[in-house]
Point group: C2
Chain length 203, copies 2
C-alpha cells in the first residue's frame, strides 16, 4: 500500500499522527501541495476531489478522507483502540470527534482559508466576513472545551482517541489562522501541552 | 432510553431514517425548535451546544451528534449493516459519508442559514456572500456525485448505507435552501427517486 501524503497541511498530519500512535509504518509518496501537485493528473485520477491524503491499497483500491483512512487502519490493527472499545465509547469518540470538527477544526480552517493572504487563489471566493465569524466560533468552542477538559484527561474520556488528534491538529492550526488561545483556558492549555509532548506529535 | 427529537430539521431526520432502516423504535421526546425549546434549560443541560437530536440512555448517559447516535445503534443492532461490514467497506462508507457531508450537506446548510430570511437571528452574522459561494459548491459536488452514481446503485457501493441517508436528507434540504438539482443529472435523480420511495423516507 501507499499513502499519498500532503506535508504540513492539517489532514495529512491527522493520519500521520494516528499511524504513529498505532505504531504502523506505511510507505509514503510525498505530494507537494505548495506546487499544486495535488491538482495534477496523477492525484486527480486517484481522487477527483483533489484532496490529500490518499491511501492506495495493493489491489489499486483507493481510500480518501483522513478519518476514513484512520478507520481502515483501526479495523486492521485494533490496538491501541483510537475509536473506542465498545458501543458506548465508540459513540462517545464519534460524538467528540464531530464536536471538535464542526466546532473547532472547520472554523479554524475557514478562518485560515478566508483571511490568510496566502489562500487567495486557493479559496475562491475568499469571504473575509465568514473568516472573521469563524474565528469567533472557534474561540467560543474552545471555551466550552476548556470546561469539559477540567474534569478528564482526554477529549472523549479517560483514554486517548482520534478526537484528541483532531483537536491537537486544530489547535496547532490556530497559529497560522491567527487565532489566539486565551491565557485563562488553563485546562485546554494543559491538555494541549500533553498532546504536544507525545512522541506522535512530531509525525 | 429517550430520543430528544427536533422535527423536520435535517439532523433529527437522519437519525429517524436510520432507525426506520434498522427497524428500531425509540421513545421520542419532541422538541419544538421553532419555539427555540432546544435553547431552554432542559436541553442545554443535556447538550450545552444546544443541538438536536440527543439520545439519553436509561442511566443518564447522553450521546449527541446524529452520526454518533447512529453508530451507537449500529453497535447494538448490527443488522442491517449501515456503516459497512468489514475493514474496506467500513472505510468506504466513512469516506463517502464525509465526502457527502463536506461536499453537500454542509454547503446546503450554509446556503440555507446564510441566505434564508427565516434564519436571520439564528445564524449570526448571516454572511450572504458565503451562502452564495456555498450554493455553487453544492451544485458542483452534485455533478461529481452524479458521475459516480452512473456506475453503482448506492453512494458507497452496492449496499445502502448511512451515506445514502446523509445524501438523501442533504438533497431534500436543497429545496428550502433554494438550490436546484440540474435536470441533466439523471443518475443523481434516479438515486434520489429510489431513496424517496423507501419506507424510511417518511420517518
Amino acid at each position: 500500500m501507499k499513502l499519498y501524503d500532503g506535508g504540513r497541511a492539517p489532514n495529512p498530519r491527522r493520519v500521520r499522527i494516528f499511524l504513529a500512535e498505532k505504531g504502523i509504518q506505511v510507505p509514503t509518496v510525498p505530494v507537494d501541495m505548495a506546487r499544486r501537485e495535488h491538482q495534477g493528473e496523477a492525484i486527480t485520477r486517484l481522487n477527483p476531489l483533489q484532496r490529500l491524503p490518499i491511501l492506495e491499497l495493493d489491489d489499486g483500491t483507493v481510500i480518501t478522507e483522513s478519518v476514513a483512512i484512520c478507520r481502515y487502519f483501526e479495523e486492521q490493527s485494533p490496538e491501541p483502540a483510537l475509536f473506542g472499545r465498545d458501543a458506548l465509547t465508540r459513540a462517545r469518540v464519534e460524538m467528540w470527534q464531530r464536536r471538535i470538527e464542526f466546532g473547532l477544526f472547520i472554523p479554524v480552517s475557514a478562518a485560515f482559508r478566508h483571511l490568510h493572504p496566502a489562500m487567495k487563489g486557493w479559496e475562491v471566493p475568499q469571504v473575509p466576513a465568514w473568516g472573521e465569524a469563524s474565528k469567533s466560533k472557534a474561540t467560543e468552542f474552545l471555551r466550552f472545551l476548556d470546561g469539559e477538559l477540567a474534569g478528564r484527561p482526554f477529549i472523549a474520556g479517560d483514554e486517548f482517541s482520534i478526537a484528541d488528534i483532531t483537536g491537537f491538529v486544530a489547535v496547532q492550526f490556530m497559529k497560522p489562522a491567527r487565532i489566539d488561545v486565551p491565557e485563562e483556558l488553563v485546562h485546554a492549555r494543559r491538555w494541549y501541552g500533553e498532546m504536544a509532548s507525545r512522541p506522535s506529535a512530531g509525525a
